[in-house]
Symmetry: C2
């Protein structure tokens, strides 16, 4: 089908999706969950074609790992569907109301965005997660998965269509793009009369390419250069645990700590032990001159290193003079993703919360908590570091917008 | 100055604007209000140059009216500043919080958007209104007024700078673009590393041109084809008053009614008297065949008329079979701006509220109420009909975004 046709079909179906009852949406999700058990052999079989193709093409092991669908991955998919079933339906929620002097009751009500175009890379799970979140929030969608997951995504998509059809929901509300032709994708990115939002999920080059070619608003997330600032009043035991967790619990994620900032008056007591703990976990350390005076064998951190998202067992460390210096560093080198302070000082805690405008600003906890599940959104579609519309993890609420509503008894404009 | 330079200056100053104390912002606004009295002769003098130029260029009277600044307009500007001073500061507001099972307190806090580029047409008032709202919401701004208001805007801008400097606030946070060269504007619209949002305020061609050339997100408002549906259970007296108000109180505005939909079972009793009342106010009527059977001398409404935003003393009337028919009509021909139902039926009221996804959906009141002041936002920067980020009148809240915040006592990712 032509790009125009699939976008138009999605747009027409989006009107139906927008007004689906909660029970109907949950029935489709339950049915999909059931089908994933029922047809798991088929899914795993199709996935094997992708995995073999990837192996013979010599793709990296990490890509093949992400690509693989086995019984465990299918259980995870089912768990993620179950989670979304259990989340409250955001559509129709009245988020606030206020009464005007003339008696008019004004409010805001959540409605779906419309048609969301999701472009993602290798993990086939995203097909299921994106579908669940978009459906529950009343949005129609166009899915474009990675070409490495070609067979897996077609198989999962056939289950999605089957689930929709079994529950008598128009299956055209979910479109799968099977080609990876650039011109086809670019054409879709120009169809702002049919598509309301684009969410690219993947590496920086994918995202930049989408932004470059889109006439449709894009929710983007470039990178996470996350900081922890250990203030002079920090509880040192807490700081050790939080910093260790933020760096090594899963270093390849966007919310892992990349730079540790330490107040100079605590550095001498804090840094040598912190360095020892990190090295126990095989973390390579880079640092400023003063760090190198306190800790042996620390590589000198170049100007470039402060901008780096290592996504690896590497950490940059800088000793700062005070709060001002820490805030200035984060503003200059940070990426508005996730930044934390460890402190016992009331004023510093609040100043950090107010003056750092990252998508999540934390006092006394790990940066790894910037995640839809951890923050209690239930599930998410990635973490936005663009401020407009959504900033931070994009849960069901962030896949809706609000309209104004007003209940009157004959109010006029005077 | 080059586009890059003014955008960069605004970006740097935006950090200061973002953290201005409420009192500092209000002091600047008070000072500006004072200067408007103190230097009103200068403003009126400069404005005369624009008005004379417009007259000798033979511009329309309506444009010259909008352009003119006299003592009354200066008073209105001062009133609008006073209104913004009295609005609560949105920056730093914590809009919600929730506690996670691990004890982490999570919330959302309002922060400014950053740098807003406002492009507007003839009314010099917008210079003052846009400045007041952007400053109060902590945003730096780039202002580009209409070339017809060249001298007026430079004069008003000089007062803004003076007010900022007198209160020791960095005046580079407000930039005025003095040229109307296309390439200069297009270059600004490409600088997404410095400018966070573009708000064009003006006619459809201005807005389309901005959307076409911008790499920065645009809050747009194309047109308002607003409907009132008079349901079969409507209170007829209320319906007469509301429809009359929605059509004639100020027909040239985007929230004026353009199409009246009448339930067939009430049409015979309702329409002849409604037509008489509208014609008393010099409204020309167009209508469907059935309307023409009930009311004399109604011009036949062509397919195109249902899409029209007349902005004038003209109204299209259609008799519909039922709610379904009315909703279908609004979905097909509407512009997602403002739509109202007049009804005494509980189910129909709620169904209309739920199923019409316009920026304001009203029960039993005039469409003319879709306005920041009328809805209690205090002031506004126009009405967005794009759904992302803001949908409806853009008040102070809509000029902010939220970041996530979290207060912990050592929470880790398990």
């Amino acid at each position: 089908m032509k790009p125009e046709d699939i976008a138009k079909e999605a747009k027409i179906a989006s009107r139906v999706f927008a007004h689906l009852k909660t029970e109907a949406k949950n029935s489709v999700l339950s049915e999909l969950k059931r089908l994933l058990s029922h047809k798991k052999d088929y899914i795993i079989e199709e996935n094997k074609k992708d995995v073999e193709k990837a192996r013979s093409a010599g793709l990296q092991k990490s890509i093949i790992d992400r690509l693989m669908v086995d019984e465990k991955v299918i259980k995870e998919m089912q768990k993620s569907i179950e989670d979304v079933i259990n989340l409250p339906d955001p559509v129709g929620e009245i988020t606030k109301t206020w009464r005007r002097p003339n008696g008019l009751l004004v409010g805001k009500m959540r409605i779906p965005i419309g048609v969301i175009f999701i472009i993602y890379e290798s993990r086939p799970n995203v097909t299921i997660e994106a579908f669940s979140l978009c459906l529950k929030s009343g949005n129609a969608m166009i899915l474009k998965g990675g070409s490495e997951a070609f067979f897996s995504n077609i198989a999962l998509y056939s289950l999605i269509r089957e689930a929709l059809e079994r529950e008598s929901v128009i299956s055209k509300g979910v479109q799968l793009v099977e080609t990876s032709e650039r011109d086809y994708i670019y054409r879709l990115l120009s169809l702002d009369e049919y598509i309301d939002l684009v969410i690219p999920r993947g590496g920086e080059s994918l995202i930049r390419n989408v932004v470059e070619h889109s006439r449709i608003p894009v929710l983007k997330h470039y990178k996470g250069v996350c900081h922890i600032f250990v203030d002079e009043s920090a509880d040192m035991e807490m700081a050790f645990k939080v910093c260790l967790n933020a760096k090594v619990q899963k270093p390849a994620t966007c919310n892992a700590m990349e730079t540790l900032l330490v107040h100079e008056s605590i550095a001498e007591r804090f840094l040598p032990e912190m360095a020892r703990l990190l090295r126990n976990e095989h973390v390579d350390l880079k640092g400023c001159e003063r760090t190198r005076e306190l800790v042996d064998d620390v590589e000198y951190a170049q100007e470039d290193d402060w901008y780096r998202e290592y996504l690896d067992y590497i950490l940059s460390i800088k000793i700062v003079r005070d709060m001002d210096d820490a805030i200035e560093h984060i503003r200059r080198y940070g990426s508005d993703h996730t930044d934390a302070i460890i402190t016992r000082d009331y004023n510093n805690a609040w100043r950090f919360i107010r003056e750092i405008n990252s998508s999540l600003v934390i006092v006394n906890a790990s940066t790894r908590l910037n995640d839809g599940f951890q923050l209690g959104l239930g599930a998410e579609m990635g973490i936005s570091t663009s401020k407009l519309h959504a900033f931070g993890p994009m849960g069901l609420e962030e896949l809706t917008v609000t309209k104004f509503i007003a209940f009157g008894d004959g109010q006029l404009r005077e």
